[in-house]
Amino acid sequence: MWTHSGMTILASFLASMVECVEALTVILAVGSVRGWSGVLTGAASAVGVLLAIIAILGRTLTLIPLQLLQGVVGTLLLLFGLRWLRKAILRAAALIPLHDEAAAYAKNTAAMQKLGAVQGWDAIAFGAAFQITMLEGTEVIFIVIAIGAGGAGLLLPASLGALAALVVVTCLGIALHRPLARVPENLLKMVVGVLLSAFGTFWVGEAIGLPWPGHDFAIGALIAGYLVASQVAIVVCRNLREQREVRG
């Protein structure tokens, strides 16, 4: 159980961290150009709305039978985790560009400067911060529910992981006052993709009646399996890319 909770906190923390970094980049860009009151009010309002959604969804989830929940949530988790893993593999093989937070910050700063000077209540800053916090926050809620709904008592560790990510990223944002460009986002996405795919595979397997050898310890074997599969995929993709480049 402790292994399961620890893995749940780690998976939720890492996945939420990626989303929080993306939100922080836009919030810092808007705040640095248009001032902080509108931005912070917008972000805080969105966090309030998101907390209300969590409270409602959290109660609803306890009413659904565990096996059905594991099947539905496990399928969503598999789609989500394998999608991240696929993207991380393609980035590692240099087939798609890496996500650049510094470039995103520069782009958002330039866009905000074009909108002109601030007069009184800054609706633009409020709206921009509210929208990005809602967008990335909705993704965090899905991550928490998907990771936390797979087993009894896992919603709390998943929520704690997401909360820890929010605190860490906020503290770093306040301390640095610039986007967290040095976060190895692709490595994070690879690790999160592997973890989520392993959880999803395990829960869908349980829901359809597959008896995992070693029960919860099978998740460790699945993590190792997905790590091997992703390394194989990277090698295959690099070889195919090189062949393509040689052919011109």
């Binding site: 399928t75 598999l78 789609l79 993704e139 359809i208 597959l210 050898p213 399996g225």
Partner: protein, 73 residues
């Protein structure tokens, strides 16, 4: 209303990046579920677990390889 649409699009994008990849995963889950239901004693052992994982890993490798091939995008 525009931001709600943006959020819905973003949520859909959380799960589906490449439609063929997502469909392949869902089809594989359905196949394994049907196999476990109909061939209970054969498919529900540890070999079933291995086949289930192997299929998902193969879908992942095939999808990334397909993206890497020339004129496949």
């Amino acid at each position: 209303m525009q931001w709600i649409r943006t959020i819905l699009r973003e949520v859909y994008g959380l799960f589906v990046d490449d439609a063929a990849f997502a469909i392949a995963i869902l089809v594989w889950l359905t196949i394994v579920w049907l196999l476990v239901k109909s061939l209970h004693t054969v498919a529900s052992g540890w070999i079933g677990c291995l086949v289930f994982f192997g299929g998902l890993a193969a879908i992942l490798i095939e999808s990334t390889a397909r993206y890497s091939r020339p004129r496949s995008r």
